[in-house]
Point group: C2
Chain length 343, copies 2
């Protein structure tokens, strides 16, 4: 996995240009190939690779997109510090990893550059931004890093009901940004199917609904959560909980951070077990147990909710297929996790 020893034919084709990506897909389609897209923000881990494997099992060719989307980050979030390792990602997607090689990686520089950023002088942009400020906040009341770029992008896809609860409460631009960039990727890559991880459960449901409502001819596949051996759901942000990411005296605090974070998955397994053993179907009781476990381990809870698997509406009883969704802060890292219960 390490180093640059892979032969070029073992590595995926890297495409950075929208038109070239379109051409590539059209050529594949003309040859009768089905195309699966796996959208990612890079810094790939085993969770992403499991999505790739799922995609490979379902389609003839697989495109992985690697793009950290400014449209889903608010200016106060961690866009600038989001981890990245493009070279490592490419190696992981090559046949060197022991799997079939991914056919293409779509890695655009800026999906919101419509050719009018470079043409403007700094003064124009400063003037425009001050005009923007005078106009007040946008109609939607929220603003992402894309608005800050001054590129003139102004079209957003909103899945109004599903985006409201859970992560949507604390991240008001997130799902609008995800739905919009996924629409862009769908329009550029034109896949037959796309694979999303169920770790981002609400995101998966939002995209499913968007595809139905906007009549995309694309099958959306949800792929199960990949966990570390100890149960922690894999996430690019986990790196911030791990040794090596900190300075001296880090070992004990890292260990403590990981143990804290484990309280999420452990409490989810425990809750599922409580329901399956028939010990409770009361959502308020379940929620109480979860909140106590995570808070007790030092996590600051964003939300713990037991919701309908499709509508994501909060429930009083586990009387149908539900999913328990959790978001919690451990230090300055926000982690999410969930577990489905058939009910």
């Amino acid at each position: 996995m390490e180093g640059g020893s892979a032969a070029p034919e073992e590595l995926p084709e890297i495409i950075t240009n929208k038109d070239e990506m379109r051409k590539w897909s059209r050529a594949m389609r003309c040859r009768g190939k089905t195309i699966a897209l796996v959208p990612t923000m890079g810094y790939l881990h085993q969770g992403h690779l499991s999505l790739v494997e799922k995609a490979q099992s379902l389609a003839d060719v697989v495109v992985v997109s690697i793009y950290v989307n400014p449209g889903q980050f608010s200016p106060s979030e961690d866009l600038s510090t989001y981890p990245s390792d493009f070279h490592g990602d490419i190696l992981k997607l090559g046949s060197v990893s022991g799997c079939r090689r991914v056919d293409a990686v779509f890695h655009p520089h800026n999906l919101y550059d419509y050719g009018n950023i470079g043409r403007k002088g700094e003064r124009d942009i400063v003037e425009e931004l001050s005009e923007e400020r005078e106009k007040g906040p946008p109609a939607s009341g929220v603003s992402s890093c894309v608005e800050e770029m001054g590129a003139g992008h102004e079209t957003w896809v909103k899945v109004e009901r599903l985006e409201r609860g859970l992560c949507g409460k604390s991240r008001p631009v997130f799902f609008r940004g995800v739905a919009t960039v996924v629409t862009k990727l769908f329009n550029i890559v034109d896949p037959d199917m796309a694979v999303f991880g169920k770790k981002d459960y609400q995101q998966w449901r939002v995209i499913q609904r968007m595809v139905r409502d906007l009549d995309f001819g694309i099958r959306i596949v949800g792929s199960d959560i990949t966990r570390e051996q100890d149960g922690l759901a894999m996430s690019s942000r986990n790196v911030r909980l791990s040794p090596g990411d900190r300075g001296k005296l880090s070992f004990l605090s890292d260990l403590f951070g990981c143990l804290q974070a484990l309280s999420i998955s452990r409490s989810l397994f425990q809750a599922k077990s409580l329901v399956e053993r028939g010990q409770t179907t009361n959502c308020s009781d379940l929620r109480g147990t979860l909140v106590q476990a995570i808070s007790g381990a030092g996590g600051k809870i964003d939300y713990v909710e037991i919701v309908d698997q499709e509508s994501l509406e909060t429930l009083g009883e586990v009387d149908r297929p539900v999913v328990i969704c959790i978001a919690a802060w451990f230090g300055n890292v926000r982690l999410i996790d969930n577990i489905e219960i058939s009910g």
Copy 2:
């Protein structure tokens, strides 16, 4: 043009099903054909046919969609009385009209039926509607006839800046509805290009911007306004100004209605002439002249604006390519018209 005497091979293929439409387009593409889409709400007139001719001159095959989109009407607008004549439309699109026959007409019954309307009992829907009312208005603060249908559609495409002014002020759900249904049609028909009339100038610009921002691989073509001999911009709603649509004693009032309506185009021509002869470049003066002419003829002005052709921002001077846009009520009919001036 009248009657049902056309041979079947002279008429376009009629497709009502989304999947069949998709298949049809894929088959055409496999045969190397380029596809143009002309989206309409039916009740076709010479203006629509000019869009079809434009499409025929640019692409190998032409699809005309005929669908009155509830998503762009607010519950208080004229969805239920929007004129329709499907049989007449099909004849107009056949080779009987003297032109090349349109290849396919996409005429879906309901683009927002996801299979969950029929499955619900009336009581469920009543309960849901009352739940909806308890939740208050949707996040966007607006609601169209689609929300009233209870179909669960919740994804909307918003072109936030361009949709705000002009018609957007008095019709807050309109452009959201147009952008959304056009996205649906693009995803179903998958055309290489689409032709829009410049009579709906803001709509054309909104769709252009949406296509850029969402990376649709579709060329948007704007087609010039078709006018009656007397200058009136053609519109399906003009029928309400014309003889035959009213009862006895109608001739004089109809004639009066038409004369009133003509004040829009006449004042637009006059304003363009004023600028081109160098008599004024002051937008406030121009606006005053236009407002006076239309009000004097009995029209109730919704807006008269002189705006930048691309950004649609209101201007003080005609110092660049502009478009003068007008919306006015004549009785209970709202008409729009515009004229471009190179500046």
